[in-house]
């Protein structure tokens, strides 16, 4: 039995039944990380000492009869989550030696739930991108083919899960940063409703959009993690007071009578192989009792314009605190992409342009929110491809300042509307690269989209297929 292939649910069971110890489990993952990191570069910082200490502590607690939701479970956390005493770079050299004195709320909740921290995963610097190629610590590689990108910005997180370097990962999505890399790496990625999971301590990208969430091997694992992460946080004024349901309670119920919406615009320009796999998956859902309904949504291209303006504006302001006075490295350490975004955001907020850009984008955002609301009067969920293509080769993002927006065209509308969404693997291309489908739900419909995803996963358990990780091309 190889411990590193265990899903979260399986690992928990073995820990609870004392078949394995957390130290054994942690050691297996640390070993795996050590073995694969030269080829994958999924981590910016690995924390073996911290991990083994956490694991020993978890084992002691379990021996004392203490039971916690994630007791002894090794996890990786994206490097934009503040971790007290552990450097947090957001994959930018500006924060190369920044060690936060506090934990992000997500990290605190995970610690309280008993997790073991394996390390901090690589990402696009400041989460600016969909490839990890903007990371100052080098791009991560796709475990299914190391000549390809894992996607981003939570690329390291998705790769670490796909390569079994961790039980599960915590990522964050502004628009696509969980779902798109999950799709490219063939894993489950849940982007919760904006405000469902606290942003406190997450290095801010687009403050009105950022949503932390889990990336896991299986759907049930995502439900389990969301249970720990979700809930109002007194430290985040935008976190929602909406009650947190028990995400496991209805997870395994069927989807008889579920109404699924499909919009043709979301298949436009999508790679044939991706399209075919997603269409096949929709048929599977139909077979499971769902009815399919064609719906008309605003074309995703409007969302790109809105997203680009809002996000750049927020970025330009959020990164202003890195003024070269306090964080070690000065502003010259900002990469090309960060500089581009700061300049664009600064421009759109400038006197005389505010109404033309930012204010207009806010208005269109409201229109898009209403558009989805209208759609959800007729259907329960909307499904479609997560990304237009499978993982692109390394170097694809170079010189493409809108690379992220094109890779994320299908996830940006639901992101700017603050909706819930999940990616699940639905197939592989001929080249052996994973294909993902997204299930979009209304705000706070995590319970529902998890159930749909679970039902599909039972029919098509692609998690059984593991990448053979070769040496880098």
């Amino acid at each position: 039995m190889s411990l590193h292939t265990l899903s979260l649910t399986e690992a928990l069971k073995k820990l609870e039944q004392k078949e394995i110890s957390s130290v054994e489990l942690t050691e297996a993952y640390l070993e795996r990380i050590k073995e694969l990191e030269p080829r994958l570069n999924a981590f910016v910082t690995v924390t073996p000492e911290e991990a083994l200490r956490n694991a020993a502590d978890a084992d002691r607690k379990r021996a004392e009869g203490i039971s916690l939701p994630l007791l002894g479970i090794p996890l990786s956390i994206k490097d934009n989550f503040s971790t007290s005493g552990i450097r947090t770079t957001a994959s930018s050299k500006v924060l190369d030696d920044y060690i936060p004195p506090f934990d992000a709320t997500v990290v605190r909740r995970l610690k309280e739930a008993g997790m073991v921290l394996l390390g901090k995963t690589n990402m696009d610097a400041w989460a600016h991108g969909s490839s990890t190629e903007t990371s100052d610590y080098g791009a991560s590689k796709n475990p299914w083919n190391t000549a390809h990108l894992p996607g981003g910005s939570s690329g390291g997180a998705a790769a670490s899960v796909a390569a079994d370097q961790t039980v599960a990962a915590i990522g964050s999505e502004t628009a696509g940063s969980i779902r798109q890399p999950a799709s490219w790496c063939g894993v489950v990625g849940l982007k919760p409703t904006y405000g469902r999971v606290s942003r406190y301590g997450v290095v801010a990208m687009g403050s009105s959009l950022d949503s932390p969430g889990p990336i896991t091997k299986r759907v049930e694992d995502s439900a389990l993690l969301l249970q720990v992460l979700a809930g109002q946080d007194p430290m985040d004024a935008t976190s929602s007071p909406t009650e947190v349901p028990n995400y496991l309670k209805n997870l395994k119920k069927d989807i008889q009578g579920l109404k699924i919406g499909i919009s043709d615009d979301y298949f436009e320009g999508v790679h044939e192989e991706v399209k075919a796999s997603v269409e096949e998956a929709i048929k599977t859902l139909e077979k499971l009792g769902a009815t399919i309904k064609k719906i008309k949504l605003f074309h995703p291209k409007y969302a790109i314009a809105v997203y680009t303006i809002l996000q750049r504006a927020e970025v330009s302001s959020n990164l202003a605190r890195l003024d070269g006075i306090r964080y070690g490295n000065d502003r010259s350490y900002f990469g090309e992409e960060a500089k581009r975004r700061i300049m664009l955001g600064t421009y759109t907020l400038s006197a005389g342009y505010y109404d033309q850009y930012y204010n207009k984008a806010l208005k269109v955002r409201t229109v898009i929110i209403e558009d989805f609301k209208k759609a959800f009067q007729d259907v329960d969920v909307i499904v479609g491809p997560t990304a237009p293509t499978t993982a692109l080769p390394i170097g694809a993002s170079e010189g493409q300042s809108m690379f992220g927006e094109l890779a994320d065209v299908l996830v940006e509308p639901s992101s700017i509307a603050g909706l819930s969404g999940i990616n699940i693997p639905v197939g592989f291309s001929k080249a052996g690269l994973p294909i993902g489908m997204q299930i979009i739900g209304p705000q706070f419909a995590e319970e529902l989209i998890l159930k749909v995803a679970y039902n599909y996963e039972q029919e098509n358990p692609l998690y059984l297929k593991k990448p053979k990780i070769g040496s880098s091309a």
Partner: protein
């Protein structure tokens, strides 16, 4: 020659000063505007009152202080403002080392209060443009060290709640400004939302000054802002200085530069700090970390009903209710604590037929220390003095008669012109009476007897 000089003397009437004010008031909430750090930073070790939020560390988020918002709305209500039911915070983006996030959380187009006024004694109304909430910055100190210059940043003040009160350019002289400021200070103290202590920087003033030709309409095309003034007296002097300075420049055909100036108390003059070429572009946009603040009608009416009686109303009531002259009422209501003390003393005094005017006389003339005296004690003191006056006449006469008999020698001395000896006889009489008495009364009676 004479004529020219005369002309020059007359010239002040050619211009009317146009003065507006920006006042920052630091609230006395327990915790800061967006985090739970203590606001009691004054005199504390640098950077000892800080956390990830007020240090602006990556990922830290602001959570607005409800008490501070309520205090801001109370100030707005007290200044006769309309309240924006839908309000929000905005980011004001600019770089400065004392600004931990690279932006200040402030309010742009939807301040909590707008369109109010303060009425001066002469019934002139000074328009209040807006009352908004923002956060304070850290503090820089520039040092000369052995190996060069250094600037140190103390973030203890970072995030302390500030209310900014902006007026219309309605002031025409320094005295109006001074009266307005005293009144504003009095109001925020009445509301108990700020100590507004100028020396501690809890109230900061920024007048902007220009002159227009008395015949011209509209605002002048320049404006001079004076910063870093820490007393009402200095603001008066700075405005007077500026008015004269502008006048001289205008008389010579020039236009004063659009700039920010500081006040130098030692040299008794203003000095240029920064030339403002264009309005700074702060790239305001709605603070995405804080949802809009909605003040519902019933919340507003709760706030309204929690408002204390304000100085103007109290002044009027004191005159009416206690039949006091304006002079007394004005002095008694300057400080709410004194007004409260007075009213309580009036209530106690009522049972002993002591009039409000009697109490007012004592409080004002004797400058009663209200921190060490209770209103009831004040009344007791008044009553004690009254008791003395009510000394029995027969008792006094017989005491004096006895003393005079017992001290014939002294009586003779007195009658022979050694008038100082009366002090001895006075002492003996008081001793005989054996209680606290009105010395003056005894002395007068003694004199009468000695003469008789």
């Amino acid at each position: 020659m004479n004529k020219i000089s005369n002309n020059h003397e007359l010239q002040p009437t050619r211009y009317v000063p146009v003065i507006g004010l920006e006042v920052h008031v630091e609230l006395k909430t327990e915790s800061k505007m967006f985090c739970s750090c203590s606001t009691q930073y004054f005199g504390k070790a640098p950077n000892s009152h800080v956390c990830p939020v007020c240090l602006g560390l990556p990922g830290a988020l602001p959570v607005p202080n409800r008490i501070a918002i309520e205090s801001c709305i109370k100030i707005a209500l007290a200044l006769n403002c309309k309240i924006n039911e839908f309000s929000k915070f905005d980011r004001k983006n600019y770089f400065y080392p004392d600004l931990s996030k690279g932006y200040q959380i402030s309010q742009y187009d939807l301040p909590f209060g707008y369109g109010g006024f303060i009425e001066l004694k002469n019934k002139k109304r000074i328009g209040i443009t807006r009352v908004h909430m923002e956060e304070d910055t850290g503090k820089l100190s520039h040092l000369e060290l052995r190996d060069g210059k250094a600037s140190l940043i103390d973030f203890n003040r970072s995030g302390v709640p500030l209310v900014e009160i902006v007026t219309e350019p309605d002031f025409e002289d320094a005295l109006e400004v001074k009266e307005y400021l005293q009144k504003l200070q009095q109001i925020v103290r009445y509301l108990d939302v700020s100590n507004a202590d100028m020396e501690k920087g809890e109230m900061r003033l920024e007048p902007n000054i220009s002159l227009r030709e008395s015949s011209a309409k509209g605002l002048p095309k320049y404006k001079v802002e004076v910063k870093n003034i820490n007393s009402f007296k200095f603001v008066e002097k700075a405005i007077e200085y500026e008015v004269k300075r502008h006048q001289t420049i205008l008389d010579e055909g020039g236009t004063p530069a659009q700039e920010t100036r500081g006040w130098d108390e030692n040299k008794q003059r203003t000095f240029s700090q920064r030339i403002k070429e264009d309005a700074h572009d702060y790239r305001y946009f709605p603070e995405p970390d804080i949802p809009p603040i909605i003040t519902l009608a019933d919340q507003l009416s709760t706030l309204n009903s929690s408002m204390p009686e304000l100085p103007d109303a109290k002044l009027e009531r004191f005159q009416k209710e206690f039949d006091l002259p304006y002079y007394d009422s004005e002095i008694l209501t300057r400080d709410k604590a004194i007004a409260d003390f007075f009213e309580e003393a009036v209530t106690v005094g009522k049972d002993h037929s002591i009039s409000p005017k009697q109490i007012s006389n004592i409080v004002i003339n004797k400058k009663t220390d209200i921190s060490s005296t209770l209103p009831a004690e004040l009344i007791k003191n008044i009553l004690d003095e009254k008791k003395i006056l009510a000394l029995d006449e027969g008792e006094l006469e017989s005491a004096i008669a006895q003393v005079l008999i017992e001290n014939i020698k002294a009586v003779e001395d007195y009658q022979n012109g050694k008038e100082g000896v009366i002090m001895f006889l006075l002492g003996q009489t008081i001793k005989k009476l054996g209680k606290k008495v009105d010395t003056e009364l005894v002395r007068e009676q003694l004199k009468k007897e000695l003469k008789g």
